[in-house]
Amino acid sequence: MKKHLLYLFLFTLALGSCKKDKTDPILGNVDDRLSETLTAYKTQLAGAQFGWKGYLLTDTKVLATFLFTFTDKNRTTMSADYEPTLNESSYRLKALQRPTLLFDTYSILHLIADPTPSKFGGDTGGGYYSDFEFAFLSASADTIKLEGTFNKSKLVLVRSKSAADNDAAFTAPDEMTATLSKLRTYFKRATVGGLDCEVRLDPNSRVLGFSYLEAGALKTVTSNYFVSGSSLILFEPLVIGTSTITGLNGVSFDAATGFINASTNSGAALQIKEAIAPLKYDATVAARFLANPVYGTYSECYTGFTVDGVIDAYGVRTIPNFFSIDYYPKITGQNYGAVRFWLGTAYGAYGPAIIPTVSVDGKISYVQDGSYGTAPVAIRPIITNTTNNFLKQGGFYVIQTDTKVYDMVAVADARSWITFE
């Protein structure tokens, strides 16, 4: 009986072992799919008649614009806004953790990633923390989004429409900057999804930001952008209340109204207008700025006053050997502070002594208390204009934009401001 049980058991086992798993992967073989994807990407890259415009944002927020063409023979020819001479090198597509585009021999793209500072600048051992191995994040017919696998820099490839489109690629950011600089005031406003927003436009670092009030608190979102034609496209989408903005199209300045007109990605019209006061002002900053100069006793400014969107409107950078305007809130042992002009090795024998007063609502205003001498005739208008701007009626808002970066904005019209860092 025991033996029969054993046989019964063995037969059951034997028959059970015959069962074969016949399930096939629904989506097909994984390796086949991967091969197909890589081939498709390669075909797409090589298939663009006028090549691709590439927009790079390194991990240290340095921006660069490229023009690429790819062949189906693993060759790529490129130029960049920082190196317009065409240069040929190689590329290939490889399945790493994700499908990855490798620029696998040295090229213009590698300059900005080169860890030897004598090549292109940046940090020793890191360069500008850029990449040349990019994983595909998403791809539509005309836009491929990539992310560096090592330094997490971002690269967006946009299919070029024409030779003219290529020609304009390196100049489009300057034209956009010119358009955006037509707004004269430091403060700018727009309405997004019914929310009143303060707009931060920094064309030099290509940063767009919105600040809005949420339950009484100021909330700020910012992103770097790149410029393609008259479009301004964000590297990171900005979420404002219930709206999401990924870019602005058709950016133009309307001279009649003094507004910048654009439309968002959802098609909604967006107007950016001048404003003379902040949406919400932090009244504690001014006192903090005066009490804690960036360099112990003073803070530095490298570009003088910006007036009506024109950087260094008075031309302090044209002063021979000019390095910085140093603002001392208080000269040790004196009851006044001073604005000094550092010329690399010594201060110029001119510049006003000024005494600050902070009002209860956090605005700084100045009165003059003598000067360090009369400026030479050639540069006297620069010094006079700068001095007069410090003495403006109504004083200044102080806006902290980074840990040790302060903007002083004229209260009267918000059309002149100066940055200390």
Binding site: C18, D31, N74, D104, T105, T116, G126, F150
Partner: protein
Amino acid sequence: MKKKLLSISLVALTTIFLAGCSKKDDLSTNIVGLGGDTWTKGPIDEWISTNYTTPYNIEVKYKWDRSELGEIYKNVVPIQEDLVIPVMNIIKKTWIDPYVAVKGGDFMKEYCQKQFYLAGSPSYNSNGTITLGTAESGRKIVLLDLNTFDQDNKAAVRQILHTMHHEFGHILNQNIAVTPDYQRITPGDYTATWFNIFRGAYSTNAALDKIMYEADFWGKGFITPYSRSNKDDDFVETLSTLLEGGQANFDNIVNNLFVYDGVYIKRNGKGIYEQNADGRAKLLRKKAIVTSYMKDSWGIDIADLQARTQAAIESQSPTADFNSLLGPAKTYSTITVNPQKLTGLSTKFLAAYNTANTGLQTGVGYYIDNISLIFTTANKVILRVNFMDPTAALGVGFNADFNFDIANINGNITLAYSNPQPTTTTYANARAIEAAIPTLLNYFKGQQFTIRWVDDIVPQSKSIFGGLVKTNDPTSYLFGTL
């Protein structure tokens, strides 16, 4: 019957079991990336195939692959395509070809490293140093910082070759071990912190720092700081330095080992230096073992291999002739001749020098430490005799300068004694001793010399020694360090 049933059941069971086991998986799909990366081959790939892969089964990877780096977490960039062939060509000519010439192609096919990986920038380390290359167990060599490669920069070329010969030395040593006698030469001086031996680590006084730095490896019988790390690296460093640096380089290192008192070499009352006999003997013993190892274990005459390697380096990265490099605002401007630090000076020059030295000692009570020929002024050469007072402190020395007018015609100069001579201190010193050293002055006065390298006299000595050979008497010459 029961038995039969049992057998049938057993047969049935076995059949079912066997059949049940035979599953057929579809193994026909191509796994992505299996078999290595592929790309459309170009001329560089063909060159590598012709010169490395086909003859020696060596893979040369120049396209970026982060996983090949030893430290994948560093910012490194790939090599420029146009440098791949120059770099690999020079490695072939100066590493593979000399070995093939001495031992034949099969030897290299059997033993050489099988993979190269090339990258453009160095790998920056957190302690401020940079890595220029690594090697993994005789299989793979990673060469970094190649985007700065310049065939005319001999020092950089030698650096790459040193790595090649070093790593190949490991392979040879791992196949046939060197005699343990080698590690018994300097058993107590191997250290894990060998990397603390660098210029600047010893003293803020640059001269003293150099002396102490060199004393910390050469003085102890090691050819490089790295050779102090362990016995195996010591062995291959000696081998690779002999091959990459050449014979004159090695001999010059040995000939410059002395016992120091501060920044000065210890000496007796007649100016005879005290040699670092221990350091010299250790280095020479190591060289002797390397030589016999190559001969006995591999049948390689190291002198032959060395000569071929040096000739290959010279032909790939030629040195300009000495005459074109010597003079005001040129690479070299001074030839320093110190017979105590050199071997191979001509007997005719030495006779003149030694007679002058004896004359100075008996006549004035001083001794000559060294002489130099200074070419810092156009159409002029200064013979500077550095002499010392044996009763004074070691640091007190005097220079006596003698001016000669020269016209350089294709490297041939005739030294016409200038008249009048200047009257400043060094020339006043010259007036004080000139009567005691006539043989030395007459060796130069009115004589015609040819300015040239002396690699026919001291083999492989280009860029180490430069010399003056009497135009009419090739057996009369002097040379010195530059």
